[in-house]
């Protein structure tokens, strides 16, 4: 059990110019917390995790585990366990040997290793497979062995580097829930890296969004979804992605085709003070709806309808100014519009819109 802290930690890969893979990361993780690091590829999330593991140097700043500075401590001395994307199981060892290897190296008595391995195997439903080699296991079973290897050590921090990305979709959803439940039960601080925002939203107590080595926002999934700090977070979290368009401003609000979305006075004032004539306007597909004939709305030409059973997503284009912009709207799947049809779309609730600075991408609305 331990809290984890990145104190202005950077990893700079040499080159010209040098690549700041992780740039001045400042992040505190509480004891027992499940923190998800999420971002697109190349965002530095895996590097940040490997810095915590001690597999990657920390070029600037420090890393603390349990209040102790471990910046220059080798992985061995950090009391951590890691689950790799490839699982990294030792191919010549049986499941039981894989799980007990760390304890064996530590010189734990054989009987004690056996008991701990048996206990973890029971927890993960691996008892039947203890004598098998990894190559005789399915992908899901291997994943559980990798988890088991981490659990047996009883470390103060679990590190997981995209542990589900080699599983098929159904198993991934199942294992996702199992890992979250296991973490709750063990109450061990966990840092989990993924590129999948659904995993991030469903598993993390808090989610840290990274881009180009920079921390964009770290907050609870709900806060990230409802109040993204910038346009990148807004576009990255949520599926399908938020509609983000640059739109002109009028005295009343944001001007979309045939629809003026009124904006709060405070926002309009602050925008006017900066002398902006445009803003980045964001609205999630689920915050849009098909408008009735007597309502105001923007005219959308339907280009594609994705039916998912419960919902349907309508992809279509709207003319804003001279350009044609693509919007996604979530609609009831029982009455989807047809391809080529022109429909009227309106914002369901004006409090569900997000405004960002057109250049910096920073959140504008209160």
């Amino acid at each position: 059990m331990a809290e984890v802290a990145y104190v202005n930690a950077s990893r700079v890969f040499p080159g010209s110019p040098p690549v700041r893979a992780v740039d001045q990361l400042e992040l505190n993780v509480a004891d027992g917390e499940f923190l998800v690091l999420v971002g697109p590829s190349g965002s530095g999330k895996s590097t940040a995790l490997r810095m915590l593991a001690g597999l990657e140097d920390v070029d600037e700043g420090a890393i603390e585990i349990g209040g102790k500075d471990v910046t220059n401590v080798p992985p061995k001395g950090r009391d951590i366990a890691m689950v790799f994307q490839s699982y990294a199981l030792y191919p010549h060892m049986t499941v039981a040997e894989n799980m007990g290897f760390a304890l064996k190296l530590r010189g734990v008595p054989k009987q004690q290793i056996k008991d701990k391995v048996a206990e973890a195997a029971k927890m993960l439903d691996l008892t039947k497979y203890l004598d098998r080699k990894p190559k005789a296991l399915s992908g899901g079973q291997r994943q559980r062995v990798a988890m088991g290897r981490a659990i047996v050590r009883e470390p103060s921090v679990f590190l997981m580097d995209e542990p589900l990305s080699n599983l098929d979709a159904k198993l991934r959803v199942e294992t996702r829930a199992n890992i979250a439940a296991l973490q709750k039960r063990l109450d061990t601080t966990t840092i989990y890296v993924t590129h999948d925002q659904v995993e991030a939203m469903t598993m993390g107590h808090r989610v840290a969004v990274l881009k180009d080595g920079l921390l964009q926002q770290c907050d609870t999934p709900r806060e990230l979804y409802e109040r993204p700090a910038n346009a990148f977070v807004a576009g990255f979290m949520g599926s399908p992605a938020m509609n983000l368009k640059t739109v002109p401003l009028t005295a009343e609000g944001a001007q979309l085709d045939g629809l003026v979305v009124p904006l709060p006075r405070t926002v309009l004032d602050s925008v006017a003070a900066e002398g902006l004539t445009e803003v980045t306007f964001g609205v999630r597909p689920e915050a849009l709806h098909l408008a009735g004939a007597d309502e105001d709305g923007m005219e959308l030409t339907v280009e594609l309808v994705e039916e998912l059973g419960a919902d349907a997503y309508v992809y279509g284009s709207v003319r804003i100014g001279d350009a044609s912009e693509r919007f996604i709207v979530r609609v009831d799947s029982r009455t989807p519009p047809a391809f080529g049809q022109k429909v009227k779309v309106a914002v369901r609730d004006n409090s569900e819109i997000h405004l960002f600075h057109p250049e910096s991408g920073k959140r504008l609305s209160a």
């Binding site: 001690g54 992985p75 061995k76 951590i80 790799f84 490839s86 990294a88 190296l105 080699k133």
Partner: protein, 305 residues
Amino acid sequence: MRRFLDRYWYAYAMVLPVVVVTAVLVLIPLVQGIYFTFTDINEANIANPLLDRVAGYVSVGFRNYANVLSGDSSYGSFWATLLRTVIWTFCCVFLHVTIGLGLALLLNRPMRARALYRVLLILPWAVPAFISSFAWKYMFNSQFGIINQTLRALGLPEPVWLGQSNLALVAVIIVNVWVGVPFNMIALLGGLQSIPGDLYEAAEIDGATPWQRFRHVTLPGLRSVTSTVVLLGVIWTFNMFAVIYLVTGMNPYTRTLITYAFERFFAGASRDYAVASTYGALILSVLLVFALFYRGVLRRQGETL
């Protein structure tokens, strides 16, 4: 059966040339050689069309085997020679694999001019064995060789390397190690590169020291390569003729089963084809027994070859 042929005739047509070549070059000589071991064939009684002489050799049953296996010195002191062959093979293969592994480990780490080192280290293998052997023979020369010149300059004793002593065996082992290390190095380097890097990282996080990582990740990861390299090395070294013959000639202190078979076949008062063939058959059986035993050991360790 008919449908089977209709369907797969082209596969058989494709392998036919190889089957024919193997039969002509391997199987027929093998069968003939084994047949000779039961006769008293030599230069005096073999069929010779030039002298208009018909074959005069007769069957002698197992007499050749009895003579050879008696260990009699007039039949090449079989058991002593076998022991020397085993020592020679063990020393060579052991040094091949350990030195090859050491160099492969050095080459597997990132460093400058790695490609250059790799080429330089493969070079001894690219040089034909007979050139290496002659080069070494000159270097071992007791008066003019560079080795003894160096020893002389250092004020150390200058042994007669290639004389009638066990030092000659040491010398041929050195030459054969020189010739054989590059192959082992390359094979083991390939093996090292196929070990995934995250296994080392996982072991590091599990708390393994560098030696424990070598012991528990590198060595097991190389097992399929080492088992192949050792089997090939044993067979090649056991049958290595060129290096021994070219460096020391027919020296009784470097006599192995294969060089004695050659000696018996081509040299001596009467070219004794029967005894030479008997040695050939015995070499084959020793290697067959070894290969079967080796496979058994590997299978027990859960590997296949």
